[in-house]
């Protein structure tokens, strides 16, 4: 991984939802974010995430921010 490689943040919501056996609708209700916004986040189209949203997601999924966010290279 050299410094020239373009990187992006990956949101590991799919994996976490499967591990915690939770549906997207359920998460949406617990976090208080609309389904539309949650799919924007899940599909990697979001440009930023608020700390408050991140805290709510971590609380709902009983995990750490590091479990939700990951860094990966953009494949051309």
């Amino acid at each position: 991984m050299d410094s020239e490689t373009e990187m992006q943040i990956k949101i590991n919501l799919d994996l976490l939802l499967v591990m915690k056996k939770m549906s997207l609708t359920e998460l949406s209700e617990k976090v208080g974010v609309t389904m539309a916004n949650l799919s924007v986040l899940k599909n990697g189209k979001a440009k930023a995430i608020r700390f408050s949203t991140l805290i709510a997601i971590c609380k709902a999924l009983e995990c750490q921010p590091g479990d939700v966010l990951g860094l990966e290279a953009i494949d051309e």
């Binding site: 974010v33 916004n37 924007v40 189209k45 979001a46 440009k47 930023a48 995430i49 608020r50």
Partner: protein, 249 residues
């Protein structure tokens, strides 16, 4: 080119203009008030007022720009070789009165017996050059007004559908700005050179009166045009910020 071919070309251009206009303008929404789709911004009385004012001006400018070619063609057909009638057209001209050179005229209470200024001079349409120039300038002015009104109206529609920060609005403001700047640069030149030759043909039997071509640039309008270009840049930045804000979860 004979009269028939000239007329048929004019009619073709006219028909094309009408078809283009009806495709461009959103006629269905004229004078429409709040609907179930347009919630939010349309509830503001000011937006509605602006929309209806623009609707009114759109119809007005449309009628004018459609009427001018008809009037021009009708007058061209009905005019005989020797013009017997015409309507007065006002042309913009500078004037100078030197009372000292006129016999029997004297102004009291002024230090200088010279008066100068700019104003309208009425000439009749038996001057065919002036008549054609008048028709062309009127037609272009009406089309420019129609274009600007339509762009503004489209911007109001974007406000009504709650999507003011779209890709088109900065472009629309930029186009309006460019049109205003170009028209306010071309117009003084047309005034000066176009009407200038008409003004130079007018003669007086007294050397105390002089008419000369008027040259006047509407600086405020050019500045407004520049301001619109600036506003377009601002709106482009605002669009990026809005996008960032929408994609922040």
């Amino acid at each position: 080119m004979n009269t028939l071919s000239f007329l048929s070309i004019t009619l073709l251009v006219y028909a094309g203009l009408i078809i283009w206009l009806f495709k461009q303008l959103k006629f269905k929404q004229i004078w429409q008030g709040p609907t179930s789709h347009n919630t939010g911004a349309i509830k503001s009385p000011l937006t509605l007022f602006v929309k209806r004012t623009l609707d009114f001006f759109l119809i007005l400018f449309l009628l004018i720009s459609l009427a001018i070619p008809v009037i021009a063609v009708v007058m061209a057909i009905s005019q005989s070789d020797v013009p017997t009638w015409g309507i007065d057209i006002g042309i913009f001209s500078g004037f100078k009165l030197n009372l000292a050179e006129m016999s029997g005229v004297e102004a009291m209470g002024v230090r200088n017996q010279e008066f100068s200024g700019k104003g309208l001079v009425s000439i009749d349409t038996s001057n065919l050059y002036a008549w054609y120039l008048f028709v062309v300038i009127s037609q272009i002015s009406a089309l420019v007004a129609l274009y600007v009104t339509n762009q503004l109206r489209n911007m109001v529609f974007s406000l009504l559908s709650n999507t003011p920060f779209n890709n088109e609005n900065p472009q629309r403001i930029k186009k309006i700005g460019i049109v205003i700047i170009i028209w306010n640069i071309i117009n003084p030149l047309v005034q000066y050179f176009g009407w200038g030759s008409v003004v130079n043909d007018i003669t007086f039997n007294n050397t105390g009166i002089q008419l000369y071509p008027a040259f006047e640039v509407n600086v405020i309008a050019v500045l407004i045009g520049l301001m619109l270009l600036l506003l377009s840049g601002l709106l482009k930045e605002a669009k990026i910020l809005k996008e960032d804000q929408e994609l922040t979860i």
